[in-house]
């Protein structure tokens, strides 16, 4: 530091001497050419200007003015080579020279100061521009905070710690750069106090003023988002504080953008959900109406015509009521699973289940609906344990079997099998019906697909079952598939776990 000062001092001294020396040389040359002395003083004025520009210091300018006058007086005024002045005209010239040179000096100094400020401002603006530009590309609260901390340090050597109020955990989340050891001295309690009272505390405030850190609320409009803590070692300047405020404002804007984005995302999901719900309701009302019409109608007919019908007729009606009631039961079962899937992103209660138990239970539940279909099962040779949510996987198998019962002729064979392929458990339900129509094979597991080919009421059944099955298998991290059999007789539905 000291060395540097001395070097600049020496440099300035050298410049001043050199310029005055050159001026004197030129002046001597002009005297030889018989140019008048009034012009010679102008050469010195020029010299002083150069000195001010070079040294950028008023002191040197004024000093050089005086040296110039002495040199001028000594070398060019009568009597030559003495400091006496005979002609009073010269005294006026010298005084005017002094005034002019001092004014020039001052003006020059001001100009230079302005230039320096302009330069500093430009740098600052550029820095802010860089920072605000960099904020644009950030996403995620963590990234935004870390970026702010780094920017504060990089541009102005300011050490900071940020707090953000986390809605989920209901407490302040601390963000700091572990490479800054000073950050360890930040007191969480003071930050919490600051958050609660929405008032600055710490360094140079009414509360814990002796602290080395100050804590400020991080506000967006009326809402408090968190706290920012700033280290006051070394002491901050006005420019530092301005920089901090601007940067924090930029950060708040970035946070606001982040929040807006999150809100947008939420409303998008809500719309999506709404759509699904509407779809579900639409297909449900159709699916519920058909069996309900039958149940209500048949029972009313039975009630009113009790004495007219023979027992054969009554039995027929009652049978259809019973089967439709069972169908409704199955529908409700699927709906329950559906709400489970939608509410909690499907909470699986997984554990190791014996494959035999799962297949048996699925068969048992379909027993009453199978009619004249033949259902057989191929159980694995040895006892196999597979990690799964038993109830849900059973539901998937039931849906597959129901689907096969619904869409094949009454004499068809339905077969359930289990195999282990490459360490993955594979369940398959195959039938020997007409297979899946080509135009449906791709959309089979999408929400609420029905076969439209036949009379629309002839075969009810939303793909509700299949789309739920898909959701269940995907929640297990497995794959669901459906294709027609290679020999062209019937379809295969299956999944890997």
């Amino acid at each position: 530091m000291k060395n540097k000062n001395i070097t600049t001092l020496l440099r300035h001294f050298f410049i001043t001497t050199a310029i005055i020396f050159i001026c004197t040389l030129v002046s001597l040359f002009f005297v030889e050419l018989h140019i008048r002395t009034e012009n010679i003083i102008m050469i010195y004025l020029l010299g002083v200007l150069f000195i001010v520009i070079e040294t950028k210091q008023l002191v040197w300018g004024i000093a050089s003015s005086f040296i110039s006058i002495i040199t001028f007086n000594y070398c060019f005024t009568q009597p030559l080579y003495s400091l006496h002045i005979h002609d009073p005209n010269y005294i006026i010239t010298i005084i005017i020279f002094l005034i002019v040179s001092i004014i020039t000096n001052i003006l020059m100094g001001k100009l230079q100061k302005h230039a320096a400020i302009a330069h500093y401002n430009e740098q600052q603006t550029l820095a802010f521009y860089e920072i605000s530009k960099s904020f644009l590309n950030l996403s995620g609260i963590q990234t935004i905070f870390m970026h702010t901390i780094h920017a504060l340090y990089e541009y102005q050597n300011i050490i900071s710690v940020l707090y953000y109020y986390d809605e989920k955990s209901k407490q302040l989340q601390r963000y700091q750069d572990d490479a800054m050891p000073l950050a360890l001295h930040v007191v969480d309690e003071l930050a919490t106090w600051c958050y609660k009272h929405q008032k600055a505390c710490g360094h140079a405030t009414a509360i814990n003023g002796s602290e080395q850190w100050s804590y400020h609320p991080l506000c967006h409009g009326e809402e408090i988002l968190g706290v920012y803590a700033i280290s006051h070692t070394p002491e901050l300047t006005k420019e530092n504080e301005l920089f901090i405020h601007t940067l924090i404002a930029q950060m708040v804007m970035a946070l606001e953008r982040e929040q807006l984005y999150a809100q947008q995302e939420q409303s998008r999901i809500a719309i999506e959900k709404e759509k699904l719900r509407n779809n579900l309701l639409r297909s449900l009302s159709h699916d519920l109406r058909t069996p309900l019409t039958n149940i209500a109608g048949s029972s009313a007919v039975l009630l009113e015509n009790d004495d007219v019908f023979d027992s054969e007729m009554k039995k027929k009606l009652m049978k259809s009521i019973s089967s439709d009631a069972q169908w409704l039961t199955q529908l409700v079962e699927n709906l329950l699973n559906m709400t489970r899937i939608q509410d909690g992103r499907l909470l699986l209660s997984k554990r190791c289940e014996v494959v035999d138990d799962i297949i048996c239970e699925a068969l048992q539940r379909c027993e009453s609906r199978k009619g004249s279909h033949t259902i057989s099962a191929h159980l694995p040779e040895t006892i196999q344990l597979v990690n799964m949510d038993g109830q849900l996987i059973i539901q998937v198998l039931v849906n597959f079997i129901d689907n096969a019962i619904k869409h094949t002729q009454p004499t068809s064979h339905i077969d359930i099998s289990f195999t282990q392929k490459k360490g993955k458990a594979c369940f398959e339900v195959s039938d020997d019906g007409n297979g899946i129509p080509d135009n449906m094979i791709d959309t089979l597991f999408d929400s609420f697909v029905t076969t439209k080919s036949e009379r629309s009421d002839a075969k009810r059944g939303v793909g509700l079952g299949l789309s739920i099955s898909k959701a269940i298998i995907e929640a297990h991290g497995g794959t669901i598939y459906a294709h027609n059999r290679a020999d062209g007789h019937g379809a295969i539905f299956g999944f890997y776990l």
Partner: protein
Amino acid sequence: MKEKILLIEDDKSIQRFLRISLETKDYKVISAETGIEGISLYMTDNPDLILLDLGLPDIDGMEVLSQIRAQSEVAILVVSARGQEQEKVEALDHGADDYITKPFHINELLARVRVALRKKTSDVIKTKVFTMDTLKIDFEKYKVYVEDKEIHMTPIEYKLLVLLVENAGKVLTHSFIIRKIWGYSTTEDSQSLRVFMANIRRKIEKDSAHPRYIITEVGVGYRFVES
């Protein structure tokens, strides 16, 4: 003497339909719509069996169960909705004799009622040999036969089978079986139990996809068929 059944169920139409079904089978039925009413009816009328719906308007069905169980060993049959395995296990572990899932078939309910009532009247009849269809168990010689051929069973498998047969018709929860056979109680690890059961089933069932003897109640436990 007619056996008396107390029906605790808040839904009127289910109550009516159960009452009609039970009365046609010659049971005497008294009914309550709330838990409190149910408990007081139990005190005054001393029924032989209680049909208890767990979803009641005033107090939790589980509360009714433990209050009655604290005083007597009367048969209690719990009615619960499917998909709530935890509730069933809890009810069984709190002393319910059996459970039935809504929606149920009336014949199934009547069968459960029969089993529960018989258990209470004559407890376990000690016989030397148990036979059902092709299955024969000789309790004295510790031997199991299927179609008159001796089946090899490990000691634990034999103990499990006997436990199930002794409680035929009744659901035994995983933790109950583990406590009885292994002597410690845990609700966590029933995996080895399930492997044992699957093995037993492979040994005694002809078609293990359509079991004749041992029914698995997924997520709850096992039941040996009543007849």
